[in-house]
């Protein structure tokens, strides 16, 4: 067990999978000579050479589609978006090509590709560079969507994503790259996709949180424990397919749910989880499902406004109190 940042855990996963399988290659803007805009790909060019670690022009639609075509012909591309904000330019290839190819070819062409990079809120970069768009990708059958919240999860989930035969959207939270955690040394460490984890066990209320909101929810649970309120924190880790069973089992025990997310609330992942809980566990609820979401506005630049736009520990605590009628 080593303690390392999420950045280094991701770097290890990439290094190990590039070493393991010659059909795996990595491409994206500044991934090679620059060593990665966020240094996730540091050292990989030196270790694997320019054939397998490839700097692309700034041409997101083009290289995303190139990756999908390479996957059709038997390779296993890892396509890095410098940030997921720029994946918006590539959505035609991600949605119309990657997600649907296996289906519309009647099962003939699988697309084993990972689209990865930082997403979610960043620090003071305003509206176009600071947003959570996982609900877009989670909408489409054919895609898998993964959002790790710890260094160990990041490594294990990324390795699984690379070995998976389907297109995987792998969103790393930009603010979390420097967060440290224990990571097992095992080079075959994988964490299965589609499996949630109970990050903290509890009995009085369930907090469903993903990505950046997991540490926020854990901090809220810690504070609430001091008041005698026992919270269970569940991280779905994979948004699609969603491990709703683990969430529903928790709700049946606690009867109260808060969903914490930094994304916009409207038509979001939290809305979907809430709908699922209502359909599957309505009779177990002692209070309406409560969402704590990012504010429904584009991200502002000013530091004070930006802080107001993203849920914090106090808001999660208030929401747990609200569903607990405290």
């Amino acid at each position: 067990m080593a303690v390392m940042t999420m950045r280094d855990a991701l770097n290890q996963a990439l290094r190990e999978e590039l070493a393991r399988d010659q059909s795996v290659f990595l491409m994206g803007e500044e991934v090679a000579e620059y060593q990665g805009a966020y240094k996730v790909t540091r050292g990989l060019l030196q270790e694997f050479g320019p054939k397998r670690v490839i700097d692309t022009p700034i041409t997101e639609l083009g290289f995303a589609g190139l990756g999908v075509g390479a996957a059709m012909a038997g390779l296993r591309p890892i396509v890095e978006f410098m940030t997921f904000n720029f994946s918006i330019l590539a959505t035609d290839q991600i949605i119309n090509s990657a997600a649907k190819m296996l289906y519309m070819s009647g099962g003939q062409f699988k697309i084993p590709i990972v689209f990865r990079g930082p997403g979610g809120s960043a620090y003071q970069v305003s509206s176009q560079h600071s947003q959570a768009i996982e609900s877009w990708y989670a909408y489409f059958p054919g895609l898998k969507v993964v959002m790790p919240s710890t260094a160990a999860d990041a490594k294990g989930l990324l390795k699984s994503a690379i070995r998976d035969d389907d297109p995987v959207i792998f969103i790393e939270q930009e603010r979390m790259y420097g967060m440290k955690g224990e990571v097992p040394d095992d080079v075959d460490l994988t964490i299965p996709l589609g499996v949630a984890e109970v990050k903290r066990a509890g009995t009085d209320a369930t907090i469903v949180a993903r990505s950046l909101m997991v540490p926020v929810a854990l901090k809220a649970a810690e504070e609430l424990a001091k008041e005698g309120v026992s919270c269970e924190v569940i991280d779905p880790r994979t948004i699609r397919p969603l491990d709703i069973k683990t969430i529903v089992e928790s709700v049946k025990k606690t009867n109260r749910v808060v969903i914490a997310e930094e994304s916009h609330p409207f038509a979001g992942v939290g809305a979907e989880i809430s709908a699922e809980i209502n359909e599957r566990a309505f009779d177990y609820l002692d209070a309406p499902v409560k969402r704590v979401s990012g504010v429904d506005v584009p991200m502002p630049y000013a530091k004070n406004l930006e802080q107001l736009a993203i849920p914090d520990v106090a808001e999660v605590i208030a929401a747990v109190r609200a569903v607990s009628y405290l």
């Binding site: 083009g62 589609g65 390479a70 290839q93 699988k110 084993p112």
Partner: protein
């Protein structure tokens, strides 16, 4: 028709091909390739195979139009009638292990690459025996066994995909080439430019064939493209390019052979602009009110099958009896494809949920 290189050009930016012969307006005369007459220099077997494919595709698509009118084929149905020489000529130059990837106007190219007419017709009928098992339809024909990587429905969407397939061939150190077909309207998409840039930058064995049929749905080239010289756009990427009379199947074959040589030997891409014309509407629902009957008839005088037939007869390769025999054979093949499609079962309702994921996760 000479190949254009990206070496510094001495005079004008007028592409090779000359300014004399033209496929008429709306293409500016100075941009058009010379009209060519099929030069019969191939062996008889190759010539007859090409003739058979063009005729089969023509009759097959005439049947598609009929079946569509009868409600047997649903959705969008984009016919290739008039453009057969482009797909057949280019694909005739490929090896079986080379790849073809294309747009939604792909029935003919699918047949030329080796998918049976029966499997294509069954797909149009939405049947389990279709080449995509009824899940793709007219716009999404696939057959991995013959390296036909699909019809794709978003204009230009297949161009980055083709670039990636070519990337994989080079990555795996094979000499397989990829042919990517698209219409001239796709040239206005960013996907085209992004792909050509990467293909030349990274020297990828991809042959981009623009089928310039002069209309993007109902909008003419003149109304949609500032530089109506598609081949010239290759200069922007220092890529080799070539104009071809897309009505001349052997000119298409030979231009593709030159591009294949560059791709196989040096991993170099090529852009080919084939000037052609579609006789039918954009899709079956398009009455084609944006052009005159006279314009269509003018192009039909240089119908690719008509001029190839004449050249073969002239060269003594085909007799009137041979032509009649081919017509009879093709008629039977088309009827057989319809019988197969009619008799093929509908997809099992359970198939609705299959092939969404290669590694499904139960939740």
């Amino acid at each position: 028709m000479s190949s254009q290189t990206t070496e510094p050009r001495e005079k004008s930016n007028t592409p090779a091909g000359g300014a004399t012969g033209v496929l008429d307006a709306p293409v500016p005369a100075e941009n058009a390739p010379a009209r060519s007459t099929p030069a019969i220099e191939e062996d008889r077997e190759t010539l007859l195979k090409i003739f058979h494919q063009m005729l089969l595709i023509r009759r097959f698509e005439e049947k598609c139009a009929e079946s569509y009118s009868l409600g047997k084929i649903g959705g969008f149905c984009h016919l290739y009638i008039g453009q057969e020489a482009v797909g057949v000529g280019a694909i005739s130059a490929l090896r079986d292990d080379d790849y073809v990837i294309t747009s939604y106007r792909e029935h003919g190219q699918a047949i030329a690459k080796g998918i049976s007419a029966a499997a294509v017709m069954a797909e149009l009928y939405g049947k389990a025996g279709g080449c995509s098992h009824g899940k793709g339809g007219s716009m999404h024909l696939f057959d991995k066994s013959v390296n036909f990587l699909g019809g794709h429905g978003i204009v230009g969407g297949q161009i980055p995909l083709a670039t990636g397939v070519a990337f994989a061939s080079k990555y795996k150190e094979t000499d397989r080439v990829t042919v990517c077909f698209f219409g001239e309207a796709a040239v206005n998409q960013g996907a085209f430019h992004e792909s050509l840039n990467m293909a030349q930058l990274w020297k990828l064995p991809c042959i981009y064939i623009c089928e310039n049929n002069q209309y993007g749905m109902g909008t003419s080239l003149a109304r949609s493209m500032s530089l109506q010289n598609v081949a010239a756009k290759a200069y922007g990427y220092q890529m080799e390019s070539e104009f071809v009379d897309g009505m001349d199947v052997l000119a298409m074959r030979q231009a593709t052979q030159r591009a294949i040589k560059r791709a196989r030997e040096n991993y170099m891409p090529t852009l080919i602009e084939a000037r052609t014309y579609r006789y039918m509407g954009h899709s079956m629902s398009d009455p084609g009110n944006y052009r005159t009957r006279a314009e269509i008839e003018k192009y039909q005088e240089r119908d690719p099958i008509k001029i190839f037939t004449a050249a073969l007869k002239e060269a003594g390769v085909l007799s009137d009896q041979d032509i009649a025999d081919f017509e009879a054979q093709v008629k039977e093949e088309v009827e057989q494809s319809v019988r197969f499609a009619e008799e093929s079962p509908e997809p099992d309702p359970k198939e609705l949920y299959t092939n969404v994921y290669a590694n499904p996760i139960e939740n």
